[in-house]
Amino acid sequence: MLAKRIIPCLDCDLGVPNGRVVKGIEFKQIRYAGNPSELASRYYLEGADEIVFLDITASHERRDTMVNVIEKTSRSVFVPLTVGGGISSMKDARSAFKAGADKITLNTAAIRRPELITEIASRYGNQAVVVAIDAKRRLGREEGRIVIDSPEGECWYECSIYGGREFTGIDAIAWASEAERLGAGEILLTSMNRDGTYDGFDIPLTGAVSSNLNIPVIASGGCANAQHMLEVFQETKASAALAASIFHFEEWTIEGCKRYLAERGIPVRL
């Protein structure tokens, strides 16, 4: 039986040599957390099932820094590496794969040009393309939207692009299904309402998307502890839980989370 995966996410500011890991709160304020490849090595040794690097500077001049980070990391980290943030063409994808990435994530570029998902998937395989969705809860019922129940009442979810700076009007739950149809191998689903809040994963959103799809969904945004991971695995079909701050600031270790989950019957790799 497949294990539920625990994935530390490293949001990287590549504007300094070797880059630095940063963590925002609700997509805004920034705290610093360390050096990307050193943190990745630590998480690998603690039992991370996969490591996600997101370039939040996302400007092309800094792409070389990301290539260096991946190259350096892949020398000592032997679990899958996923790289995203600002990947907008086959050329960007190729340079990430060439540096040692196993998967890339597409967000803004996939919304602007959905065929890019298919193009990269047919060259590198579906498993190599993760579509990242930043979803913001919109209360109320709206024509043509997939409406679900949340504790605050009926709502739908809107996709945001450019790291939360721009809204698209696109229905996030519908977009996830479309991304699967276009060849995405996985969905990285971030709740913008929960990101950085420590309030736990967005269960209604994660539940709706994961039960709609056959591909794995990575739940992201809001994780403060192992109980939140347990909750998302028990109440939704998410295949993986992603967290950042709790690992960066050493509030929980990956191994500690996994032991907690294993004791409660969730299959994990120990």
């Binding site: 294990a3 099932d49 679990v79 040692g100 191998g185 996985e186």
Partner: protein, 200 residues
């Protein structure tokens, strides 16, 4: 020297880095003749069965010679599947056919590709599994799986809807459906076992 066969299908750094990390001397090989000086050969798995066979074609004769000379060979993922006769993925292509059997698609009612860490059951304790225990997890990414005619070469299986061949071993030939180079410390252990077999 451990040769990694480069058939231009993509990222071989993972396997190179993993072998380097455990102290082996990996070398990425682009010319079939270079296989003659290899103490061990890794056939990595990238791409589709048909594409893989097309690119591997020029290496086939030298690989076969190495196999017959007793050089340890490790196939990974598609690199395991090509050891068989054919695959549903590319019906027009011929595999190496060193092993009797075929490669078929995973059942329709499970998540395809199987992607993630699955646990293995061990049928037979062979050298490639030294230090590996029942229930250890490895990283799988695949949509097709091998169905050998001779079950005795299956040394470990996993389950994803159906039982799936995870590791095969016969004489100097072994192969894994999972990616040992992406399977953390236990995966590195498999590679160490392979490298040790090249030093005997």
């Amino acid at each position: 020297m451990i040769a990694i066969v480069d058939y231009e299908m993509g990222n071989l750094f993972s396997i190179y880095n993993a072998l380097d990390h455990i102290g082996a001397s990996p070398q990425i090989i682009t010319q079939p003749s270079e296989l003659q000086k290899a103490d061990g050969i890794v056939v990595p798995g990238v791409g589709s069965f048909g594409m893989c066979m097309e690119r591997l074609g020029p290496f086939e004769r030298n690989l076969r010679e190495a196999l017959e000379k007793g050089v340890p060979i490790l196939g990974i993922c598609i690199g395991m599947q090509v050891l068989f006769e054919r695959s549903e993925e590319s019906p027009e292509a011929h595999g190496f056919g060193w092993l009797e059997g075929e490669v078929i698609r995973l059942p329709a009612d499970v998540m395809i590709p199987q992607m993630g860490w699955n646990d293995i059951s061990i049928n037979s304790k062979v050298e490639i599994l030294d230090g590996i225990s029942e229930g250890d997890r490895f990283y799988f990414v695949h949509s097709y799986h091998c169905v050998p005619a001779d079950n005795s070469l299956v040394v470990a299986t996993t389950n994803h809807g159906v039982d799936i061949v995870a590791v095969i071993s016969r004489d100097n030939l072994c192969a894994t459906q999972f990616h040992p180079e992406k399977s953390g410390p236990k995966g590195l252990m498999i590679l160490e076992n392979f490298v040790r077999s090249t030093r005997c």
